[in-house]
């Protein structure tokens, strides 16, 4: 294990957007205002499943509003997410539709000078419906042969395909002989699981501003995780050359995966802007946002078999995904769900059937963890049961069967695989056990009284990006530009977005470490598509690992160019390979010096000034970068809960959050990810869900967050009872040994919580969320 000494990496620093955020001066898309700007509003389908007959816009237009209907937008079918290659991209979306497939599908839109005028115009639109159908809200009903088709035909790449039984796409896989293995197994468990359909509740609702220019070009500001894919999609839909579209990177108020796809407001704002020839801004209300995206809801059936010595020998997963009305990344998720399953434990014999099923519900998309929180909850519940059945300690059972160092990890489904080179699982399990007091753990049967405590463990991981040596079905590369300014400071330019986790601050630290230039002299440029290289998207926990990798490569190339110039001024030095660039603590800046002769030196500032004054030209570098692997970052949570068996309320008592992320670049942001990951995971495990009115297909909370609660600080354990631990690992393929974290921080929480609840009251739950209502009913059934 290599543990290099770092000057900047691993140190606590104030993030670059910290003061602007705290003082409220940072401008988000929602804050953008340009003179003459119109406000757009979207007419959303009032029915979950219907066909439009006629749209009367006359009244709205008489009021002075610009109105668009499906007849005013290009007749294009698309998928708003461009991360997969063409051939496996399933398309069923339109900018506006005459065939709404969920209560919220955009039918028309208006733009007017004020929010009020736009609202009045929106209310003046009259839509007549040809047919209104009973909504199909259950995926199993949707698959029955008698169910009407939500989409008859969709595009796969450029090929039309007929949809059968409302199944949007499927994936099957097998390895070995599951049936034979199950027959040979000493213990076989078969369980069904249902996950909840959570809403992302990111801070900033989706927003898009489109500005037209006199030369026919447009500029877009939007809440996005990918400015480049935004540009490509808008170019494809509207047939505008990419050189005439500029998408500006604007700070985003969180996302959790809900803007990997280009959100519907973006093409709608472009269509309104092109018609109005004026800037148009659409900012969704929270109520509209909750009708815009949700987490994939999964129905699993798992069969698993083990020998009595605790060796797993078979694992079968059936994964029916209720994707809602449209496909965003259902197909790649069928692959990643399988990937998470096979990468959790060595099942040896594997069989998988995955189906993505259309229903008349809010379209689902990636939500922090991309299926791993769901799969891990189910598998970790089952593994816990299996260990109990076998009479083996749950931690030992996991250690015996988990996929670790030297094994193959599926980072992003079957086409993104790499060998695991760094693995902190044994360390995290061991330290976690000690810190939570695992030896205190007693079986539920020994617990009595009103308040019962339980301890549970859950483990998972997430990939770091979707790269690797082989080009698979996923696009994954990025770019970085570094520019040495005339005073020795650095401009760092990247298209990669920061969701708020501090990703770009990590890059800055990595560049600082490479060049010896302190972070506060490195300028993080908020840029746009016309001045950056392509970056696919900040998703898949790739920000630090892939973006940081590009930063390392760019910094190293820049360093070489600096040495080319330095050799000219360090006049007796002859061997460029013997030059070093490092931080001089006393001077507070970077210095080039000759190895073994450190007195021969020049500050980077002086060198940059000379290069400028003597007309040597700018030192800069541009790299496009694909990572060599997609390694897993492992997380292990140990959670102690207390269940009030009279009210069913569960309280987190103590949490040990363990993460193996290789080198820790920003320790306090990393700890923050684990605190946030736990909060979100606790919400997933015990609280959150979106519920539909079975008759209308409307959300029972009608979109209002009064009735979609998320947890706040008072619901969390006290800070003293929440301990973060990092494994001492080094990822050889990562920038300075680092791996990702954002998603892994969440993925293992629900499993740990569910296992802790079981340990407290002796009841297993196979449906999320595990609410006080469900707990009380279960206890009543069990007779407490």
């Amino acid at each position: 294990m290599e543990e290099p000494k770092h000057i900047f990496i691993g140190k606590k620093t104030i993030r670059k957007d910290g003061i602007p955020k705290v003082t409220g001066t940072l401008k988000f898309s929602s804050d953008i205002y340009v003179p003459g700007m119109l406000v757009g509003r979207v007419f959303k389908s009032p029915y979950a499943f219907a066909d439009v007959k006629r749209i009367d816009t006359s009244e709205a237009e008489r009021m002075g509003a610009v109105v668009i209907t499906p007849d005013d937008v290009p007749d294009k079918i698309f998928n708003p997410r461009l991360v997969s290659i063409f051939e496996v991209t399933y398309k069923d979306y339109r900018v506006l539709t005459k065939h709404p497939r969920y209560l919220g599908d955009a039918i028309a839109a208006v733009a007017a000078p004020t929010e009020e005028a736009a609202q009045r115009a929106l209310e003046a639109i009259k839509v007549e419906f040809e047919r209104v159908y009973e909504p199909i809200l259950d995926p199993f009903e949707a698959m029955s042969p008698s169910a009407p088709l939500i989409h008859k035909r969709i595009l796969k790449g450029d090929e039309w395909i007929d949809v059968k039984n409302n199944v949007g796409c499927t994936l099957e896989y097998s390895e070995g002989d599951v049936d034979k293995a199950l027959k040979e197994a000493d213990v076989v468990l078969e369980r069904r699981f249902r996950t909840n359909r959570r809403y992302h509740m990111q801070l900033e609702p989706k927003t898009s501003v489109c500005i037209p220019h006199s030369d026919g070009s447009i500029t877009i500001y939007s809440t996005t995780q990918t400015i480049h894919n935004t540009r490509i999609l808008i170019s494809q839909i509207f047939d505008i050359p990419m050189s005439k579209i500029n998408v500006v990177k604007v700070p985003i108020g969180g996302s959790f995966g809900s803007s990997i796809q280009i959100n519907p407001v973006v093409p709608i704002s472009v269509a309104l802007c092109l018609k109005a020839r004026k800037p148009v801004k659409i900012s969704m209300t929270r109520e509209e946002d909750i009708y815009d995206h949700a987490a994939y809801q999964m129905h699993f059936k798992i069969r698993a078999g083990a020998k009595s010595d605790g060796t797993l020998i078979a694992g079968e997963l059936e994964n029916i995904m209720d994707i809602g009305a449209h496909q965003i990344q259902a197909y790649p998720l069928l692959g990643t769900a399988l990937g998470w399953f096979v990468s959790l434990y060595k099942w040896k014999n594997i069989r998988y059937v995955g189906k993505a099923v259309y229903t008349n519900k809010v379209p689902t998309c990636a939500f922090r963890g991309y299926g791993a929180p769901q799969v891990s909850w189910a598998v970790e519940t089952l593994i816990d049961e299996m260990a109990e059945e076998l009479g083996i300690d749950p931690v030992e059972f996991r250690l015996k069967n988990y996929v670790g160092k030297g094994d193959i990890f599926w980072g992003q489904g079957p086409t993104v695989k790499s060998i695991i080179r760094s693995d902190g699982v044994p360390e995290l399990l061991q330290r976690g056990k000690e810190l939570i007091g695992w030896e205190r753990r007693r079986p539920p049967s020994e617990k009595t009284g009103r308040y019962r405590r339980g301890i549970g463990v859950g483990r998972s991981f997430h990939t770091s990006g979707a790269g690797g040596p082989i080009s698979g079905e996923t696009i994954d590369y990025t770019g970085a530009i570094l520019k040495l300014n005339e005073d020795g400071t650095i401009d760092y330019i990247t298209a990669l977005q920061d969701h708020g986790g501090g990703t770009l601050d990590a890059h800055v630290k990595i560049i600082a470490e490479e060049l010896g230039v302190p972070p506060d002299l490195i300028n993080l440029v908020w840029s746009d598509t016309q001045t950056t290289l392509y970056d696919v998207c900040t998703h898949a926990s790739r920000g630090t690992y892939v973006g940081g990798g590009a930063a390392v490569q760019a910094a190293r190339e820049l360093k070489n160019k600096i040495f080319n110039y330095a050799i000219r001024v360090l006049n007796k030095a002859v061997n460029q390979d013997m030059l070093e660039l490092g931080y001089d603590k006393e001077l507070g800046q970077a210095v080039v010096y000759v190895r073994d002769n450190p007195q021969m030196r020049i500050t980077l500032k002086d060198l940059a000034t000379i290069a400028w004054q003597r007309n040597w030209g700018t030192i800069s570098t541009t790299v496009t970068y694909r990572s060599k692997a997609a390694p897993p970052s492992f997380t292990v949570y140990f959670v102690e809960v207390e269940v009030d068996t009279y009210t069913g309320k569960v309280r987190p008592v103590k949490v040990i959050a363990g993460a193996d992320i290789g080198t820790v670049i920003n320790p306090d942001y990393a700890a923050g990810q684990l605190h946030g990951g736990f909060a979100q995971g606790w919400g997933m495990a015990t609280l959150e869900d979106t519920i539909y009115d079975p008759r209308t297909g409307e959300l029972t909370n009608k979109g209002f967050i009064t009735d979609y609660k998320i947890l706040t600080a008072p619901d969390m354990p006290k800070l003293d009872d929440f301990q973060v631990i990092f494994a001492h690992t080094y990822e050889p393929t990562g920038p300075h040994g680092a791996k990702g974290l954002g998603e892994a921080a969440l993925n293992s929480v629900a499993g740990a919580v569910a296992n802790a609840i079981y340990n407290a009251i002796g009841v297993r739950f196979y449906e999320l969320p595990i609410t006080p209502e469900r707990i009380l009913e279960a206890l009543k059934k069990k007779g407490r």
Binding site: E115, E123, F704, D715
Partner: protein, 309 residues
């Protein structure tokens, strides 16, 4: 394909960026003026106090009043006065002021519990006690404590004032005995007789939420026997309710955990909970008994062990 008659969603009417309702706005500067306006527009008007309920309802298009009468300027309706045997609270008094009042904390622990449990600081800085009552939500946090504290409400109109016991104030969800021309002016809470303890317990989805179920109790124990036990439940019926039968059953009985547990079973018969987006009827029925029991014990404990630090 089945074609059906389905009620269309109203969601194109929602817009929480603005108040998407047209109304005429008044901001009277005296109580007299406010009552005059209510007399004139009452049935088509809504009174705006803190706005934490009204504005939400207007944005959701649940109410679309023709007239909005903002009474925020009526500073004379914001006070907490200790008048010996009773405490008078102006209807416009903000929750944050109740939270910071030693008088409320000292004499009315149940109300103080409710204040701490209602919203966050920002909401408590805006919301008024009168607004919470007039909104007449079955989940109103102030109602159960005021019911067990036997508060009285002063309703004012151009014709004069009348006094209504809070137990007779609520008529249904969003409905009270107030006439359209009336304004809630004051809440009078008699100081409980010495030796009385009170408490309020709320069960909600998160720390900052409306109640799934709530209960307030006030109890006095003399020589080991219950002199009186008052019980009020929120979120378990169309209005907050007093559990009269349970109270009656407890009267005169020894104050022991067993006696309480046995008798609070009656609570179930005094409520009519429903399934809704926040919880289930089953849960509310089960947990109502638990929190009434807990609140009774806590109320008494506060007398025995002392309440204020």
């Amino acid at each position: 394909m089945t074609q059906v008659n389905i009620r269309p969603s109203r969601h194109n009417l929602y817009n929480t960026h603005i108040i998407p309702v047209r109304f005429e706005y008044f901001a009277p500067s005296s109580l007299e003026e406010a009552l005059e306006l209510l007399n004139k527009y009452g049935s088509e008007a809504k009174v705006l106090a803190g706005g934490t309920d009204l504005l939400v309802k207007m944005k959701m298009r649940v109410v679309e009043p023709k007239y909005v009468i903002n009474i925020k300027k009526l500073k004379e309706l914001s006070y907490i006065r200790d008048e010996g045997g009773e405490v008078r609270i102006g209807a416009l008094t903000k929750w944050r002021e109740l939270e910071r009042s030693d008088v409320i904390m000292k004499y009315f622990p149940a109300l103080y519990d409710a204040v701490k449990a209602m919203g966050g600081t920002q909401i408590r800085n805006m919301a008024t006690i009168g607004g919470n009552l007039c909104n007449a939500s079955p989940a109103a946090d102030s109602a159960p404590p005021l019911m067990v504290l036997e508060a009285r409400l002063i309703l004012a109109s151009r014709e004069g004032e009348r006094e209504v016991p809070i137990t007779q104030f609520f008529k249904g969800p969003g409905k009270t005995v107030m006439r359209p021309d009336e304004l809630l002016k004051e809440i009078i809470i008699p100081k409980p007789e010495p030796g009385t303890g009170s408490a309020f317990i709320k069960v909600a989805r998160t720390a900052m939420d409306l109640a799934k179920i709530s209960a307030a109790t006030a109890v006095k124990v003399e020589d080991g026997r219950i002199k009186f036990a008052r019980i009020a439940i929120g979120s378990a019926a169309p209005t907050p309710v007093r559990a009269w039968k349970t109270e009656e059953a407890l009267k005169g009985k020894p104050f022991t955990p067993e006696v309480i547990r046995e008798n609070v079973k009656l609570v179930e018969t005094e409520i009519s909970p429903i399934d809704d987006v926040r919880s289930t009827a089953f849960y509310r029925r089960e947990v109502s008994k638990v929190i009434v029991e807990d609140a009774l014990i806590l109320s008494h404990e506060r007398v025995v062990k002392g309440w204020m630090k």
